[in-house]
Structures are given as C-alpha cells and as structure tokens.
C-alpha cells in the first residue's frame, strides 16, 4: 500500500484554497494511516462542518460528514457499537470548541477511545473570516472590527481536566511533531486530542498582515518552540505532548458507553 491509496485523488483538486493548511494535515494523516495499516475495513472518519469537514470526502474510508459541531456524539456512538474500529474525528476549531463545546467537555470526561484532530486556524474560514473561540484577543476579523473581545478558549486546559486524556499541540509547519502526535494519538487507548495550528491565508492571514501562506508557515516556524522535556503544561506558542506516562485507564471495551451514568 502507499499513502496515495488512502486518498481519493480522482477528486483532486480539493475545494481548499491554494495555501490552505488542511492539506498538510490530510497528507500527514494519510501517511500515518498507511504506516499503521489503517484501512477502510478497520477505520472510520467522522468530520465536522467547515473547510476541515471536507477531508472525509477526499479519503478512501467510510466517512460521516456530520452536522456542525456534532462529530463527538456520533464518533463515540460508532466506537461503542463497533469497538474494534479506529474512529478518527477531523474538525475545525469552531466546530470543536464553540458549537460542539458541550460535547467536547463531556467526551473528555467520558474518555472514549477515539482520536480528535482539530484543525485550528483561529478563524471561521468557510463563512468568510469571523472571529471564533480560538481567535487571539484583539485580532481584527470581519466580525470583530475593534479586535476580538475575549481571550481564546483553553483547549489544553479542557482536555487535561481528564488526566487520562492525551493532548498534543503542534503546527502544520512542524511536520515531524505533527506526525508523531497523530501516530501516538491513534494508538492512545483513550481520548486523544491534537490541536494543530494551521494557516487560513485567504480569510484570516491577509487581514492580519501576512502576504502569503509561506509567510504564515514561516511565522509558525519563528513563533512556536518545542516545550522543554518533561513539561507538564505547554506554555503559549509551545508545541509538545501532554499525556500520562503510565498506562491510562479506559472504559470497558474501549469505550465508556456501557453504564448508567456515563462514567467509568
């Protein structure tokens, strides 16, 4: 098998804008899937709405293109009914952290054995560039002309409310780190969340002063640094992985959906 067999290349070119970061995530995901022998018989993709949600259409897997914000309840239910499957969620930051925020809280609590890849471009790109839950405070967007009013949501903090959950922060520039995180997250026996900083040049980057996607990638290179070894918490603009070193607890049959109170 080869990486390209994971992709529906006959549907290329994709709908994504030239310079979009999503393709860099899809390419690395496909490559890891190839290495781990994830295929259409053992893996299901669940995607959200927004630019990122289209990824499922371009991959050679069964793919559930959910309503906006509803990836997690669907992914958890699939994992519950078919614990033998790898269930991989791919969704944007608005989908995951805003409209799907309540599900995120509770999926973290229930710790299902699923992987969440969050394409975090800090903007609502498909709808034209409105501020989102991850937009840095003060950023001028088409819905925040005086600068985004609030500080962004703390995804790391949310995920880490469950010590058994896996959290990684990376960027699309740091391909090696992203590859490692995707691989570990898929193999993690519980809830694994990868927060990937990714450029949206057309509906965010140019408005905040970048002239090209290349410049945005150079920005990630300049701004993001690996966290020191042994860090238990990532600081702003650090990439790294926060996970329990011992084998984490996970619900029976790889899922938590088996008892009356949703806990394990």
């Amino acid at each position: 098998m080869a990486v390209k067999d994971k992709l529906k290349t006959d549907l290329f070119p994709t709908i994504w804008c030239p310079g979009c970061g999503i393709g860099l995530i899809m390419q690395q995901l496909a490559s890891v899937m190839d290495e781990l022998d994830l295929n259409k018989m053992n893996t299901v993709l669940v995607t959200g709405i927004g630019c990122t949600g289209r990824m499922g259409a371009y991959m050679n897997f069964e793919s559930v293109y959910t309503l906006h914000g509803r990836t997690l309840p669907i992914a958890e239910a699939i994992k519950t009914v078919r614990p033998e499957l790898n269930v991989i969620v791919v969704a944007g930051d608005g989908d995951t952290a805003s409209i799907g925020g309540n599900h995120l809280l509770h999926s973290i609590r229930r710790n299902p054995n699923i992987t969440v890849l969050c394409n975090n471009n800090e903007i609502y790109g498909l709808t034209g560039g409105q501020a989102g839950p991850t937009t840095p405070q003060g950023t001028t967007t088409i819905s925040s002309p005086a600068g985004a009013a609030y500080s962004p949501i703390n995804l790391q903090g949310l995920v880490n409310t469950n010590p058994d959950a896996y959290y990684a922060k990376t960027t699309v520039y740091h391909q090696g780190a992203m590859r490692k995180a995707i691989k570990e997250a898929i193999q993690w026996p519980g809830f694994a969340f990868i927060d990937v900083a990714s450029q949206c040049i057309e509906n965010n980057g140019r408005r905040i002063g970048y002239s090209s996607a290349y410049e945005m990638l150079q920005g990630y290179k300049a701004d993001y640094k690996p966290a020191p070894k042994g860090a238990t918490r990532l600081e702003k603009n650090q990439i790294g992985i926060i996970k329990k070193e011992a084998e984490p607890a996970v619900g029976p049959a790889g899922s938590s959906q088996n008892n009356g109170d949703g806990q394990h």
């Binding site: 529906k8 259409a57 069964e62 559930v64 293109y65 239910a77 009914v81 959906q257 088996n258 008892n259």
Partner: protein, 375 residues
C-alpha cells in the same frame, strides 16, 4: 406468558428491545424518563445492549444516528423541549437516510411549559420541525399494548424507509398502567437494511448536498430535486404499508369525531353518539382513508390536545370546515371534552343531562381529569 401491569413508557422500551434495538442514548426529561431509566437497567444485565445518558438531547439524537450507521438499531426518548433540540439531527437523518426511532412523550409546551401534564402539541413539530422538506413517518398509539406494538412497527418502518421514525406518546399514556400480556404482541421484525460502517465501501454520509461520489452538489438544483423526490417517494411508499387507523363506534351518526392517542380513551363515552376515526399513523396523513370515511358525515369534530394543529391539517386535506375541541393546558379530561362540545353546540343532550357542563354533576371546578375516569 403472564398478564401484568405495564406502564406505557415501559411498553415502549420493551417494544424496542423486541424489535432488536441494541443502542439507546437519551437525556432525562419528564414525562419520558422511565424509558431512559429502564433502558439503563436493561443495559446493566445485557452487555450487548449499549446505553448512554448523554449531556443533552442534541448529543442523544446525533448519537443514535452514529450508532445506526455503525450497525445497531437505535433509539432515544424525550419530550417537547428535548424534541425541539433534536430537530437538526432528525433532518440530518432524513437527508442521509438513517434508520432510527425517536419517542416523544408529549407534555404541554411551548418551552418548559407544564412538564408533567399531558399535551398533544408536538404534531406539527414531528412533521415540520427540521429545516427544509422531508417526509416523516409518525405513529401515535392509544393503549399500553399499542405502545408496545407500534414501537415495533416504528423500528420496522425506520428500516424500510431508512429514516428516523417517531413514536408519539403523552404524559398520560406514558404513565398509564394497564394489564397486558406483552408476549402475546408479536409483530414480524424487519432486519437491518443498511450496510454497517467499514464493510468495505468508502461511502460519504453527508448532510451537505453532494453527488454520489462525494463531490459537493451545493449549487445543483436538478441533483437536489432528484435526490429529494427519490427519498420522498420511497418514504411515502413505505408509509402505505403502515396505514394504521381505527374507524368505528356509531357509524349511523351524522357526525364523525377524529381523535388520536390518549384522547381516544378520554372520549369513549361519546361512542353511542358519534362515529369515530382515529389515525394511528399521524404522518403522512391518511388522506385516502379519512376522505373515504368523512364523506359519509355531515359534521366532523376534531378533539385534540392542541389548539387545532390536526384540525387545520384535516380541514385542508378534506377542503371542508371541521369543528374543533381543543384541550389546552393539560386539561385532557372528559369534562373538558363536554365543555368544548357544548361551546360549539354539539354536545349530545343525553350527555348534558348525564353530567355535561349544563348539569349539576358538571365538573367546572374539578382539577384536570385523571385517566381513571376515561372509561
């Protein structure tokens, strides 16, 4: 093989299990919560039956769709406010074509309303609650035994139509205990009709308008219309097999009453005076069946627990005026029925003498009727 007291909500749950359901996801809400609680108890002793009490009804509705795609017959149970939260997911299920069953045990709305009082005000919501055009199949039983039976039919119809099918109940029916032998209620079960996820295909289950290969069809009206008509016609055809209704009582009367669900039980004392038509399949409407019956009667009265939701539908369907007896605010009682009939001048004299609003035995000061009084 034994008769015992069974509650309406329990009969629904046991019907789902008999239909082969193996996944329940829900959120507590009166008056449906017994279904959730009993599903959790059943799951505790049957590991093949999966249960989740979710964070909200949005998650519940989406989870049952995910479970169904994965291969399980799945269902949820809720009441008006929760049902409102499920509407987007119901539309998603219709768009993709996912079998599932949603039980709505109705209370008085809108909003939080009267959580433990019976209502029938969600009929339009079961038909038009989600955005866009779609074809709902909805059943509304009237007895505990029927709660069991029509839940099985609902799962069958969901499989055949590949769409979310709705069972309506209400606060009275859901909490009504009746002596029944559930083992004697047997409906042939339709097996799963959909290839489960990860069976070798690479399908895209998309709520977005797409071509069969997954490419966006978001600006192709012809393709949209083609897909819409295909799914509508399929569901209408399936619904024909489930044209459940009851026609009876005094067929020589010149007046036909149309009632459904628990109201059918409440109006039983009207039986000597009127003919009865009871739709059990609420949607799609029983156009042919009702039109055939209605032409034999001078007057039609719709008695229902809403301000004319189904009366409006029937009026338009038959293109003739129908009389209305709305039972509002949870006042779903025989007294309220008599008062309503009296108000429109259609209360039979014998009933007025026997305890209608014109008599001393009338009940103008009574509290909302209890099901024990419905005969």
């Amino acid at each position: 093989m034994t008769k015992r007291l069974v509650q309406g909500n329990e009969a629904v749950l046991l019907g789902a299990i008999k239909a082969g359901a193996s996944y329940f996801c829900g959120y507590p809400i009166s008056p449906s919560s017994e279904i959730l609680a009993q599903a959790s108890r059943y799951a505790a002793n049957h590991p093949e039956f999966r249960f989740l009490q979710a964070e909200d009804e949005i998650a519940s509705a989406n989870a049952i769709l995910g479970a169904s795609l994965a291969g399980a017959k799945s269902f949820t149970a809720t009441s008006g406010p929760g049902f409102s939260l499920m509407q987007e997911a119901i539309g998603y299920g219709h768009k993709i074509g996912i079998p599932a069953v949603i039980v709505n045990v109705m209370r008085v709305g809108p909003a939080t309303g009267m959580p433990t009082m019976p209502g029938q005000g969600d009929l339009n919501q079961t038909r038009y609650g989600s955005t866009g055009d779609y074809t709902s199949i909805v059943f509304y039983p009237s007895t505990v035994a029927e709660c069991h039976e029509y839940t099985i039919h609902a799962f069958n119809a969901a499989e055949e139509s590949q769409s979310p099918v709705i069972i309506l109940s209400d606060a009275y029916l859901g909490h009504l205990n009746e002596v029944v032998d559930l083992d004697e209620i047997n409906v042939p079960v339709v097996p799963r009709t959909m290839e489960p996820l990860a069976s070798g295909s690479t399908r895209l289950f998309s709520g977005v308008a797409t071509y069969p290969d997954g490419e966006p069809a978001t600006a192709d009206s012809d393709e949209f219309i083609r897909q819409y008509i295909e799914s509508r016609d399929c569901r209408l055809k399936v619904a024909e097999k489930y044209a459940f209704h009851e026609y009876g009582w005094n067929k020589d009367s010149d007046t036909l009453v149309v009632v459904y669900g628990i109201t059918r039980r409440i109006v039983q004392p009207l039986s000597p005076h009127f003919a009865l038509f009871r739709p059990i399949r609420i949607w799609p409407t029983l156009d042919k069946e009702l039109a055939e019956v209605a032409e034999r009667y001078k007057k039609i009265i719709v008695i229902e627990g809403s301000d004319g939701q189904y009366a409006n539908v029937i009026e338009r369907m038959l293109l003739r005026r129908v009389e209305r007896v709305p039972l509002l605010g949870g006042r779903m009682s025989l007294e309220a029925v008599y008062e309503g009939l009296d108000r429109i001048g259609l209360l039979p004299k014998e009933l007025a003498a026997a305890g209608g609003p014109g008599s001393k035995a009338g009940s103008s000061g009574s509290k909302a009727g209890s099901p024990a009084r419905v005969g």
